[in-house]
Amino acid sequence: MRSITIALAIARKDLVSEWRTRELVPALAQFIVLALVIANFGFQIDSRSAPAIAPGVLWLALVFAGLVAFGRAFASEREQATLEAVLLSAAPPAAIFAGKALAAGLLLVLCEAVLLPALALFFGVPMSFGLAVIVLLATVGMAALGCMFAAMVAQLRARELLLPLLTLPLWIPFIVAGGQGVQVAMGAGGSLDQPLGLLLDFDILFVVLTSLAARFVLDD
């Protein structure tokens, strides 16, 4: 019970700090729109090819926005040297980690609230409930893994370099299942059950594993 209170307090602290500075979300939203512009030039998109390319563009934009969002989650703590202070408190590392992941995940959800309408606007992808559920489910596991590795690399040299190298390989399950689900939700035929089940399985697996690992990552 106490852990949940601590996690919520830390998440609230991060969200309040983001609300006061408004640094991350506007920058990431802009980055996402830019990614769509780059995709347009990279793929030579026209009205016929747009629906086929859109799922790939969605995941590319989301994955790279996620890397930045989770990297920032611990970067600000490191810059102000506040992580040590938080770690010195009696709070269990798993609760600190859960709070950070929750806040960073919610910030990424805000970015998704820009990404999905932008895809609908620029790529003619109809927004649907299924699409939103898939992206949100993928965000849960991505946040758990992304924040764990972000906590790790924040304590290392060459952190910007290492975060994608460690995180991206383990995000692949979410991109595989999520990519499949998005194609179904965009009308490729087939059932949503399998990708949704896979996403849930991986969410549970990685949330459990990362909470167990938090003790070893956040401990100095």
Binding site: L145, M148, M152, Q155, L156, R157, A158, L162, L165, L166, P169, L170, I172, P173, L205, L209, A213, F216, V217, D219, D220
Partner: protein
């Protein structure tokens, strides 16, 4: 000759014997011709890589559980050797694919997951290099080693989970003629001995590396009197 050079010589001898079995004893494949002989070392190297990454997993879990420096050294040794065997698997597979599929690479589930495996353990070694040596490097690498192992069963089952271009299991299904099966089992045994020897030698090197700074101070009496800079 030390134990290690003896083991190394024995492993090289066994690999030469395996090569003799592959090229002289095993029959030529009726469909693919001589290029099928890649199969023996390709699959054996993949299994050796899985075993090495299993060593990383066991070492990592043991390190986090018991804080055992030996377990950490074992994980370090396993990661490097596993990476070498994954490289062998990928390169031999590419040569085989060029001849049979007409291209070095196909974005097939098994090929892709094996490439990801390579990237994960290359990342493991990078973490070791970039973290502060000692406790931090060991702890962070152990976490990467445990998470990274998730990809091993994915590689193994990829041929049954997805429709792949890569052939499925042939060993357990009895699809191989006895001479081929025997050659494969012999090659696999020799490759596992080689992997074991490599891990043992690497473990020894890691032990010496860990002890090196201490030895340097002890052997030159002047240095340990100077204040640390």
């Amino acid at each position: 000759m030390t134990r290690y050079s003896a083991a190394a010589a024995a492993s090289v001898g066994l690999m030469l014997a395996a090569a003799a079995a592959i090229f002289l004893y095993a029959p030529t494949d009726a469909l693919q011709g001589p290029v099928q002989r890649i199969f023996y070392l390709h699959v054996a190297a993949a299994i050796a890589a899985f075993v090495s990454f299993g060593v990383v997993l066991v070492g990592s879990v043991f390190y986090l559980w018991r804080n055992s420096l030996r377990a950490d050294r074992l994980a370090r040794a396993g990661a490097l050797v596993g990476l070498v065997f994954t490289t062998v698997t990928l390169l031999m597979g590419m040569l085989w694919a060029k001849s049979v599929w007409g291209a070095y690479w196909a974005w097939d589930a098994r090929l892709t997951s094996t490439l990801v495996l390579w990237i994960i353990y290359a990342g493991y070694l990078l973490v070791r290099r970039l973290a502060a040596p000692g406790r931090q490097a060991a702890r962070f690498a152990a976490v990467v080693g445990i998470f990274g192992f998730i990809d091993v069963p994915v590689v193994y089952f990829s041929v049954s989970w997805w429709r792949t271009q890569h052939p499925g299991p042939v060993i357990t299904t009895g699809a191989l003629p006895p001479e081929m099966l025997l050659t494969f089992l012999f090659t696999m045994a020799c490759t596992l001995v080689l992997a074991g020897t490599m891990i043992a030698i690497r473990y020894r090197i890691e032990t010496l590396t860990d002890a090196a700074p201490v030895a340097a101070i002890v052997s030159s009496p002047a240095t340990h009197l100077e204040p640390a800079r």
